[in-house]
Symmetry: C2
Amino acid sequence: MSCFTLAAREGAARAGTLHTAHGDISTPVFMPVGTQASVKGVAPDELTACGVGIVLANAYHLYLRPGTQVIRDAGGLHAFMSWPGAILTDSGGFQVFSLARLSRVDDDGYHFASHLDGSRHTFTPESVVAIQEALGSDIAMVLDDLVPAGVDEPRARDAAHRTLRWAARAKAVLQRTDQLSFAIVQGSTYEALRRANARDLAALDFPGYAIGGLWVGEERSLGLAMVEVCNQELPPDKPRYLMGVGTPEDMIEAIRRGVDMFDCVYPTRSARHALALTSTGRLNLRNAAHARDMRPLDASCGCPVCSAFTRAYIAHLFRAGEMLGPRLVSVHNIAMLNGLAKAARAAIHDGRFDRWSAGVLDGLQRSAGAPS
Amino acid sequence: MSCFTLAAREGAARAGTLHTAHGDISTPVFMPVGTQASVKGVAPDELTACGVGIVLANAYHLYLRPGTQVIRDAGGLHAFMSWPGAILTDSGGFQVFSLARLSRVDDDGYHFASHLDGSRHTFTPESVVAIQEALGSDIAMVLDDLVPAGVDEPRARDAAHRTLRWAARAKAVLQRTDQLSFAIVQGSTYEALRRANARDLAALDFPGYAIGGLWVGEERSLGLAMVEVCNQELPPDKPRYLMGVGTPEDMIEAIRRGVDMFDCVYPTRSARHALALTSTGRLNLRNAAHARDMRPLDASCGCPVCSAFTRAYIAHLFRAGEMLGPRLVSVHNIAMLNGLAKAARAAIHDGRFDRWSAGVLDGLQRSAGAPS
């Protein structure tokens, strides 16, 4: 059976259901990031209360600490972090690329030194499958070869080709039938490379596909164009995941172009910087204006934080250095992005995504110049 | 009507009920500390889930930040921090004494510079009543004159006498009928001073009494002796609160000597240092021994944390620098002290406090030498 059921379309935008071993996920979906097996500051029951059904974790980080064996001993990642919902693990390619020291890539895989203790490790397409099968995530990403933004076409082509070869090697060693393996389309900002890579990976018949290597410094319009190109080539009956995105604005534009899944540290990282996402733009809770404001963060938000706490109280928590501040705003921001994805889904279902998205973007825009 | 109903006694130990405008509190009770209107890292619904019915907040801190007016505008401290239970506010004498700069005390009150911005303020017995009435706490402490540990007898006597005069001045200006005013017994470690001060304050007929100025550096046995002396003089039909205590061991010994109420930052501060309280002693979660331990923090604890998470996971959170670590251990530690007070109450009720406490102290002791 396919892991994805398409329920409705409007233009390229799609509403569907992703079927995982830990529950069905309505799409479009925003997945909060729990890199080290913890969505920063937020407990599993709070994620559930925000309507979250799937979170991310990271194979690179968990392999290094606490180590795959500890998580296997705990009965897998779900049991380890006490999360009853679905989990997608990223393969760690991006982390080797961005965090690890002395990293070197060849056809075999990545050779790197841990950013924690300098110990030497190798990630191959096969070992990364084995790590994620040991973690027991519901969706596992294949290892991909990443290139920085702005590389020339030959370098981008080599990386895309290697990513394709690695995807085939990964697929050949899959063992778990309860884990969905997703391939990752690369090709930098070269349309022909993206198109070819997407088509070649599609031929390998993975359960799902991700679009990687974007939102890394290129022009936003170019990133969106690449999303459009990839989605034209990817099989319409399979889920599509845009890695590392994003903001409400970027999510809406990517949904319009046929993306089903998103992840980003944005809601929790913003929260730690006292930034709350609202339907009328961002609030900087350190601004004096909020110190006496007895309204919730967003009057239209039904999250547990907006039901109980005022801007004045949360602003006080940040000024007082209380860790409850980042925590409450993290919960709210995740609920906001989850609510945005849910509203997008309902709009697509009713054939009013274009109108709905115009209204949402207008709301976000309207206050962009206002004091935040 | 009295704010306190005595339900059972065993020797000097008491089980009772404290009646507040925000609910009845079974005693003995441990009150978590939310100095700045937030129990560090813990949300109100988690306190409720731990069985907590009353928390502390601090008039000095809240007067300076966010300011009394903001909290009044919010509808009082309960609404401001979204806490449905009872609140006891400390008068701030201790904070002026320990935190404020350039502080000077005379018969009028405390004159000090804010530790936040150096601004000049005066706290009088009357102004501190007004601040706490504006905050709207259920129990308000009178302003007391504190002296450091080890002062000579004349200095301790002056402070005790001033505390008595201030208590009378505070009582004369009380306006709220839904707030209980507690006086504070001083007298350092001088038995005659403590006895006289307790007796004199008792004559002023406050709804409740606190024992202050102890656990500030004196020998523990001397502190406990002072508790015994104070409780011999304080009216038996009124609640007794030992300020700033404490550890499980100290709480048990003070309950044995007739104390009903406790507060301390110990459970949350310990948690931030990766120390978990258990019935068999303290666990330092940074110790390697816990990294693969799939047991809960305390197998006999029914708190939300012990129901969901292992030592291995929580140890991982601390190593990974995840804020969920301190948060989870804070919840557990508060639940432990709350459970200890509840068990003490049941034991007193059944006339087996002596036996019960011997068993608990034995358990805590047994592992004191073991690796933690």
